[in-house]
């Protein structure tokens, strides 16, 4: 094939690069959660809810790719109760073009969410999905990887830098020993780490504008996905609390106590 054809194809494809960003409504990161008296679950009554911080980073990255002229559309998706709409409006205030709410009262676990996203991906045909690397409520760190597996797409998790060019993404990942850079073909799933970017604050005009952006509502039944939970929570408990110890007078006192009392040096 002539080089011209390939370039032409890439230009066309670049113009329609669609990014899907799943966003989760979670307990705000500043809230210290409490366990219900009967130990059945955490108490979420009257607790402040926000968008999962890593999902905010994911939305920001997608919007930046659009602002850079690389992406043409950013679609936010959320699965859960009706008030996940608020989370989608937040995503649209940051710059997502539209929202999809998959409404369900069921306790949606990562595998179920990944299957719902798979159904949305098959319909929407995005070239890139950017997830937050983990939700700060269940700390599961699974959904993006599961979606990549179900779609048989490559994955680039824990991204701290993303470059999308043509049909490829070059992603710098945070790994235990430092950083690594990988190259993957699109379509692909990326998951955002903390330092991928610093999300903007949604301005009032953008919050107002977000209210008029399209928000479509669907549900697991319509998408044909069985969301039955696979894990049953038998109980939840608070871990044993550490109690505050003592104050030492100075460095000499500290070294003495570490040597003779704690015996750790």
């Amino acid at each position: 094939m002539a080089a011209f054809d390939v370039d032409y194809l890439e230009v066309i494809k670049e113009k329609v690069l669609k990014i899907l960003v799943p966003v989760k409504r979670v307990v705000d990161y500043n809230v210290k959660v409490r366990v219900k008296a009967d130990g059945s679950n955490v108490d979420l009554a009257n607790v402040k809810m926000s968008m999962n911080p890593f999902d905010e980073i994911a939305i920001e990255e997608a919007v930046r790719l659009k602002e850079a002229g690389i992406a043409s559309e950013v679609v936010a998706v959320s699965a859960g109760l009706a008030n996940c709409q608020e989370t989608l409006r937040t995503a649209m205030a940051i710059g997502a073009d539209r929202g999809i709410l998959i409404q369900s009262d069921v306790d949606l676990q990562p595998l179920a969410v990944a299957k719902l996203l798979q159904a949305v991906c098959e319909k929407e045909q995005p070239q890139v999905v950017i997830c937050g690397k983990q939700a700060i409520d269940d700390d599961a760190n699974q959904t993006g990887q599961m979606l990549a597996g179900l779609m048989n797409w490559p994955q680039a998790t824990f991204a701290s830098k993303v470059v999308v060019a043509g049909q490829q993404a070059t992603v710098t990942r945070e790994i235990d020993g430092g950083l690594e850079t990988i190259e993957i073909a699109l379509p692909a799933v990326l998951t955002a780490d903390l330092r991928l970017n610093e999300p903007r604050y949604a301005t009032l005009p953008n919050i107002m504008k977000a209210k008029r952006k399209p928000l479509e509502t669907t549900n697991p039944e319509t998408l044909g996905v069985d969301v039955t939970p696979r894990l049953k929570t038998l109980k939840v408990a608070e871990p044993p609390k550490r109690s505050a110890g003592i104050k030492v007078a100075d460095a000499a006192d500290l070294v003495m106590k570490l040597k003779t009392e704690a015996k750790v040096i």
């Binding site: 595998l111 700390d139 990887q145 599961m146 490559p154 994955q155 998790t157 690594e180 939840v236």
Partner: protein, 310 residues
């Protein structure tokens, strides 16, 4: 049914966290097979065979497993999953990367970062940055599990398992490693260190990390860590971060210097045996979890500490 543990390795040796995963798997109580998939990794497999409790080492040696890319590794695990009731690995950045892919392809849930085994189908795992422990029961036929290394002892040496060669799967070619920049340090690895000296925003800048914290770490044979604030401020590289989304550590001694103690940081270190906090703000939350608190200016306290240690 037997348990399959997937080893993390650098083709010549087994990563420490795998030893903790082996101990966790041992608590489930079945014959334990350890998969070593890599390239030119016979030495790693030989090391794996010496881990106590391992019944058999499965060695897969092919160029496309050199980097343990999640696509190839997950496909290999899934292809060999039928004989196993549990598939287990350590919750490192490698384990967290490929294991959910395995779970999805097997159509089962993953049970992330377990800290205790209650029964072969019931596990305890932290949620909400470790502020809550959930006991969960899996109804799936295969339990796919990642293990929080700090919650289990490391398996000892002393085994003599047979090493069996396993056929490689196809190279899916979905991912290409371009570069790895590993932080080079003569100090112990953060997650395996017995003592950790950690700095926060109070350190002021990266130079102070070098001039004040590093000598203390070297004196104690400690690893260096940091709070998110210190990493965000650019004092130290990302991989120093201890916390909910950074590294989870549980050393014998954790010295927090100029760290206020946000819950996200506490989530990463509150299981340390002894915690020392040095902070000029007597009201800093870090003092609520510290066994020994030194209220004072770290720029005076650190040099004094070095002198006292001799």
């Amino acid at each position: 049914m037997a348990i399959l543990v997937i080893a993390e390795h650098d083709n010549s040796s087994i990563k420490a966290a795998t030893l903790n995963a082996v101990t966790a798997a041992g608590k489930i109580g079945a014959d334990l097979h350890l998969l070593v998939a890599g390239s030119g990794c016979a030495a790693a497999a030989a090391a794996a065979a010496k881990i106590a409790g391992v019944g058999k080492v499965l060695l897969v040696d092919a160029p496309h497993y050199a980097d343990q890319s999640p696509e190839n590794l997950a496909a290999l695990v899934v292809a060999n999953a039928a004989a196993y009731g549990h598939i287990v690995t350590a919750a490192t950045t490698v384990g967290k990367n490929f294991m959910p892919r395995v779970a999805a392809l097997l159509d089962v849930a993953q049970i992330s970062e377990i800290v205790a085994v209650e029964a072969p189908d019931t596990f305890v795992r932290p949620i909400y940055a470790g502020n809550v422990l959930a006991t969960v029961q899996s109804s799936d036929g295969v339990k796919v599990i990642t293990v929080r290394a700090t919650a289990f002892e490391a398996a000892a040496e002393g085994g003599s398992a047979a090493v069996e060669n396993l056929a490689a799967g196809p190279d899916l070619g979905q991912s290409k490693l371009i570069d790895r920049e590993l932080t080079k340090s003569a100090r112990p690895e953060l997650t395996a260190a017995k003592i950790i000296v950690s700095g926060g925003r109070g350190m002021g800048n990266g130079d102070n990390f070098h001039q004040l914290l590093e000598p203390l770490a070297d004196k104690l044979g400690a690893a260096l860590g940091a709070s998110r604030a210190a990493v965000d401020a650019g004092f130290v590289p990302n991989d120093y971060q201890v916390g909910q989304t950074g590294k989870i550590v549980a050393p014998q001694l954790y010295i927090a210097v100029g760290i206020s103690g946000a819950i996200q940081h506490l989530a990463g270190m509150k299981d340390s045996k002894v915690i020392v906090a040095i902070n000029k703000d007597a009201e800093a939350p870090i003092f609520q979890v510290a066994d020994y608190g030194l209220v004072g200016d770290l720029f005076e306290a650190l040099p004094a500490l070095l002198t006292e240690l001799g």
